[in-house]
Symmetry: C2
Subunit: 335 residues, 2 copies
């Protein structure tokens, strides 16, 4: 007797994209174009005339919006006119800072009510800030554009931000990292709702590599100085000027007239990092620059940035970049 395995069935998935003034429309149009390619292959492979993905664009009031770069997009309808959809996508906003105000309060309510009734959510790039504002991400895993990691942590401390990830999924909420990370999420959806074979065809068709899991390699560390603690700021500037020498955090705190414990607490509060890991990040960042722009050996670079033990610095480098110095140089040195 053989078991009768249920045959996998495929349903049509409906995506709703929220376009808003100043949003990065490429996250919307790029996803819709990718889904068109998926549908084309799907219908050819499956001998099926039903598309796998259907899409629509909404705006808060159903009127045209002026997206980043002055691109004017006319939506299919107003967000309130959607009764049922499978997934709502929030694209990045070019400047994610100003999401207070009445219009965003309405968007936030609309997102929440959809999520509460079972609709899944996705954000791309800085769109995660808008999801953060709803509170739905509190206690959940998320990612966003790596350049806004520090701001995101400050704005939404209850979210479990995994900034290294190129996309995340938690309880029906998907987040993609910076800019083109939406393509990685697209391939994930095409694989999830279609098949692995379909996703592979689409990746080749669109010249996309499928195996990116991290935005870590692309990240340039953000050294947060937008705070009002002058003593901490002075210590940051001191480290920036002297990272190539031996720096003792204890001596540094004494020079600043603080106990090491007090200094560490204030440093962490102002910058989000411990002094020691801040110094490590500075050194890794300097090593990345040297790998990108010089022909120096990693041994020389290790010395230049204030380390003596090449092996421990190599480990640290891998931890923060996701790759070896050699791999990093190959990928990021420009002619």
């Amino acid at each position: 007797m053989t078991l009768n395995m249920p045959k996998r069935t495929f349903a049509m998935i409906h995506f709703t994209f929220l376009a808003e003034n100043d949003c990065l429309s490429s996250g919307i149009t790029g996803t819709i174009d990718a889904f068109s390619v998926a549908n084309l292959y799907w219908q050819a492979i499956m001998k099926n005339t039903t598309p796998l993905f259907t899409t629509e664009i909404v705006t808060p009031d159903g009127k045209m919006v002026k997206t980043n770069g002055g691109i004017m997009i006319m939506p299919d309808r107003a967000m309130a006119d959607i009764t049922e959809t499978d997934l709502v996508v929030i694209p990045g906003l070019f400047k994610p800072f100003d999401i207070q105000g009445k219009r965003f309060a309405q968007i936030s309510e609309w997102i929440t009510s959809h999520y509460d009734s079972g609709t899944r959510l996705a954000s791309t790039c800085t769109g995660t800030f808008l999801l953060g504002r709803t509170g739905l991400l509190d206690g959940k895993i998320a990612t966003t554009n790596w350049q806004y990691a520090a701001l995101f942590k400050k704005s939404f401390p209850l979210v479990d931000l995994r900034i290294n990830r190129i996309f995340t999924e938690d309880s029906g909420i998907y987040c993609a990292g910076a800019a083109t990370a939406f393509m990685d999420l697209c391939l994930y959806f095409i694989k999830k709702y279609g098949t692995s074979e379909l996703a592979k065809n689409c990746a080749k068709s669109m010249l996309v590599d499928h195996d990116r899991e991290e935005q870590t390699p692309y990240m340039v560390q953000d050294f947060w100085k937008n705070h009002s603690d002058e003593i901490v700021l002075n210590s940051q500037l001191y480290m920036e000027d002297n990272f190539s020498k031996k720096i003792s955090i204890n001596s540094l705190s004494q020079d600043l007239g603080l106990s090491p414990r007090h200094f560490k607490r204030r440093f962490k509060k102002a910058t989000g990092e411990n002094p020691l890991s801040y110094l490590q990040l500075l050194r890794v960042e300097q090593a990345k620059k040297q790998l990108e722009t010089t022909q120096k050996s990693f041994n020389e670079i290790t010395w230049d940035v204030g380390y003596e033990d090449i092996n421990s610095f190599r480990k640290l480098f891998r931890k923060h970049t996701g790759m070896s110095p050699k791999e990093y140089r190959k990928r990021f040195s420009w002619s």
Copy 2:
């Protein structure tokens, strides 16, 4: 005495994007979003309030167009209302087949008159078909979406198509390959009109790798059968069924009742390839599939696809994919 080298000056570059019904708008919006990021960095680095890139969207008649996937875009103006611009960009068309008709004749005239007065041109993805139609590419180097290579060659035999390239430049005409290849062209423009440093910052900011020069690795060979030569079609089907065995083109032509010379000529006329290179392509394609989906060694695969000499097949494989079997497996095998 030292020579006074003239300091490089930077001018603002104006890009005009032609949006048309059924075009792939992601090539437009993605480029505009990338240029916004470039402007942001530019203004931060250069302490300069002038943006490096300015952009606008036009349509044939100045009216809204419905691009691929039903995305409605309102242009800034009609194409005829542009008096001066630096570069006109033609995005891909979802189905590049139907570019005859009056509307495309007008577009073609408009493109030509801009080129004649010194405006540079760029096409992304299948937009190259529209540039092909103008005749401006005749005798020039171009690329397009690799999936339409055979159709392009048939439609525009005078164009020097370099389908392996991810983008090309010849006499002020730029072409980008499939889908996301426009990002590679964007980085090129950012480097050309800005600096290498600026392009690097943008690449990291948008999670884009900068070192892609070929679309070859992504290509799946197109085995052209859309012709009316039944004898050639039979020989194609025979090769597809028997590529794992030894196949002699001479015996095959005799079996089909043709002289080898006559057979080769007819085969080439119908498919665009010689019978022998067609057979090689079939075998390389089969090897790619096996590398993607099995754990077999390249030695075993070489035998499976009808070759005996692993070294010569390895060479052939590299010629057609731009990488070694090991690199290919690493990049394209999916879990």
